[in-house]
């Protein structure tokens, strides 16, 4: 069994001319963990990965693997291997030779046996003598994975490894990658722009934006308690409502939301000004016909359903509020009650432990998918 190693980045900065791709990044990835760097294209996640691999030199800062400072080491001397986005399989070599490449360069005598075992692990046994071009995308992906894993690197880097696969295959490979990671115990650092992929696989996610880490934590933690508008919008969907802070106690913050008071647990407040964005996930809101019994500590009344979309597992409502904003409300189709109809007057209820307060200085649209980002 391979030994994973810690990965430390200390004040790593990368500039291309005047463009700062990675800005003073400090990060520790504990050994054996599955770590995801998540962010939109151009956020610096791939550059970070390439600096770990040694394919880019940091402008400033240090990269350590285990206790070893590898900042000055050439790529071929680093105990890391990469699964490239394009796979970068050697087209003139067979699958066997591709997988054996790293072992042979290090002069491992027993490479035949190990290579055959690895090809079995990634279930490509019948294809060992073929060339990469004779394989499908999913098979090539597994060759790329096997070719990197066989070297038992301290850290395995994955650069959008599933990006070229179709959705169904991607789901399968996500589960497969997670299983292999648990089996081999190597530290995985996975770069992706797909938030669902990151949440499915990683123990820890660092959300990156403009070369910095916005927030780092377990997927559930990031999703349930985002600390910036970027994270709130990039990971899942959020309703962000402009509010004024009226009272702060030890356990709760009360805010005025266009004349109606609601409260948020103080551990979930990331704002310190007089104003704040009140954030609440659409599926955490319960909409009921106005005047019905309150379902949580908080209620905003005066809404009216303006759109009803049935999407199978859930029904998604748009609710127009008195101040003109439309809020999203998702409800599971449990069949417990009939769906609300268009035009119904509703009250929106939620629990104080589900909302969050974000800095009012931040852009409420940060991290939203623009049409050109959409796949």
């Amino acid at each position: 069994m391979a030994e994973g190693k810690d990965l430390h980045l200390e004040g790593v900065t990368k500039r291309f001319g005047s463009f700062v791709a990675v800005d003073d990044l400090t990060l520790t990835v504990p050994e054996g963990s599955f770590f995801a760097l998540l962010g939109p294209s151009g956020c610096g996640k791939t550059t970070t990965l390439r600096m770990v691999a040694g394919l880019e030199d940091p402008t400033l800062g240090r990269v350590l693997i285990g206790d070893e400072d590898v900042t000055q080491l050439r790529p071929y001397k680093r105990p890391v291997n990469t699964v490239f986005q394009s796979y970068a399989l050697f087209p003139h070599l067979t699958i066997f030779e591709n997988v054996a490449f790293g072992l042979r360069r290090r002069g491992v005598k027993d490479y035949r046996k190990q290579t055959a075992d690895m090809i079995e692990l990634v279930q490509l046994g019948p294809y060992a003598d073929r060339k990469p071009s004779q394989l499908s995308g999913g098979q090539q992906q597994r060759v790329a994975l096997g070719r990197a894993l066989i070297n038992e690197p301290g850290v395995l880097l994955l650069d959008e490894p599933l990006g070229a696969l179709d959705l169904k295959l991607r789901r399968q490979m996500q589960i497969e990658l997670k299983r292999i990671q648990t089996e081999v115990g190597i530290t995985f650092v996975h770069v992706t722009h797909d938030q669902e992929e990151a949440m499915t696989m990683a123990d820890t996610i660092a959300v990156m934006n403009h070369g910095r880490i916005e927030q780092l934590g377990a997927p559930g933690e990031l999703y349930e308690n985002p600390s910036t508008t970027f994270v709130a919008n990039f990971l899942g969907q959020s309703n962000l409502i402009r509010t004024e802070v009226v009272e702060t106690t030890g356990t709760a913050v009360t805010v005025d939301c266009n004349g109606q008071k609601v409260s948020v647990d103080s551990t979930r407040s990331h704002a310190d000004g007089r104003s704040a964005w009140l954030g609440i996930r659409p599926e955490k809101i319960f909409a009921s016909e106005s005047g019905a019994e309150k379902q949580g500590e908080n209620r905003l009344s005066g809404g009216r359903v303006t759109d009803v979309s049935f999407v199978g597992v859930s029904t998604q409502y748009l609710v127009a509020m008195p101040w003109g904003q439309e809020l999203m409300v998702f409800e599971q189709n449990t069949g417990q009650r009939p769906p609300l109809r268009h035009g119904t007057e509703v009250d929106l209820d939620w629990s104080s432990s589900h909302a969050y307060l974000l800095d009012a200085q931040q852009d409420a649209t940060a991290g939203l998918m623009t049409p050109e980002d959409a796949e």
């Binding site: 790529p75 890391v80 050697f90 360069r105 290090r106 098979q139 990197a148 490979m173």
Partner: protein
């Protein structure tokens, strides 16, 4: 793991429509085929018949067709040393061209950056002047009083009375000079196509730059190596200008003999049989070479 191939490799739909279209596609070959028939096939057949004429005929009186296969025996007997010299010179020139052209093509493909196009133009620039003129100017460069001879004599690589012109060195140097672009351009074309990410991947998999080059970059540039060496070796082995202008009859290659047989002696049967022998040997060598290089599919 249950992931299976999801791509459909081939589409077996061949209906009347597509086969009709495919039929029309062959029309595109017609002009090229006609050209080859008129300017390669016909002259080659003509050459073959000429090579079997009675050698006692002459240009003025005409030749009689006597199926004189002994022409070939005579040609080989009298000129085998010229063939040997041709292939030796052409082979040496090809090796030197590869040694000079590969680093040059590599630098243009990977290191030249925005100077890439300028450097490519410089490689081709000699073609703007006539082949003959450029070779003549090499006579000046390599002449006994020329700077190259002077320098080599001064640093005692060449003896005091040594010369460059009229030696095999001069002929091979001329061949190298004249055919270098034919080596460099195909090498550049295939090196330029090498995916830079593959070289990165080799480095990521513990290959030092030297080993990465040996295991990845060089094998991927083999199509360029093969076509470059062929484009150099084939014309160089039939060349006569360099031997004529930079050498003496002691450096003459088979091309010189063919040229004089055709144009001076007007011994057409001999010239034709020499040409065909040269062609046959080159074809056999090329086939063996391409097989050995394992690049049939890449050519």
């Amino acid at each position: 793991m249950t992931a299976r191939a999801t791509t459909t490799d081939s589409d077996p739909v061949v209906d009347g429509e597509t086969s009709k279209r495919r039929g029309r596609g062959w029309l595109l070959l017609v002009p090229g085929m006609l050209w080859l028939a008129a300017f390669f096939l016909f002259p080659t057949v003509q050459l073959f018949f000429t090579s079997l004429y009675d050698p006692s005929g002459s240009y003025e009186q005409g030749y009689a067709m006597t199926w004189q296969f002994s022409n070939y025996v005579d040609a080989v007997r009298d000129t085998w040393n010229l063939f040997a010299r041709s292939f030796l010179y052409a082979g040496t020139a090809t090796v030197i061209c590869l040694a000079l052209g590969y680093p040059l093509a590599y630098a243009i493909a990977f290191k030249a950056g925005r100077w890439k196009n300028v450097m490519l133009v410089l490689v081709i620039a000699p073609f703007f002047t006539s082949f003959l003129l450029r070779t003549l100017s090499w006579r000046t460069i390599l002449s006994d009083q020329g700077p190259v001879t002077d320098v080599l004599q001064t640093i005692a690589i060449l003896p005091e009375d040594g010369r460059l012109l009229a030696t095999p060195v001069a002929v091979i140097a001329g061949l190298v000079y004249n055919f270098l672009p034919f080596m460099t351009l195909p090498l550049y074309a295939s090196l330029d196509k090498v995916d830079h990410r593959l070289i990165e991947a080799a480095g990521d998999l513990y290959a030092s730059p030297v080993r990465g080059f040996r295991r990845v970059t060089f094998p991927l540039s083999m199509p360029g190596v093969v076509s470059g060496t062929l484009l150099t070796f084939i014309p160089a082995s039939g060349d006569y200008i360099n031997a004529e202008l930079l050498g003496t009859p002691n450096q003459y290659m088979v091309g010189n003999r063919i040229q004089s047989a055709f144009l001076t002696e007007r011994n057409y049967p001999l010239a034709a049989s020499l040409s065909l022998i040269l062609m046959a040997i080159v074809v056999v060598m090329v086939v063996i070479y391409v097989r050995r290089a394992g690049t049939e599919e890449l050519l």
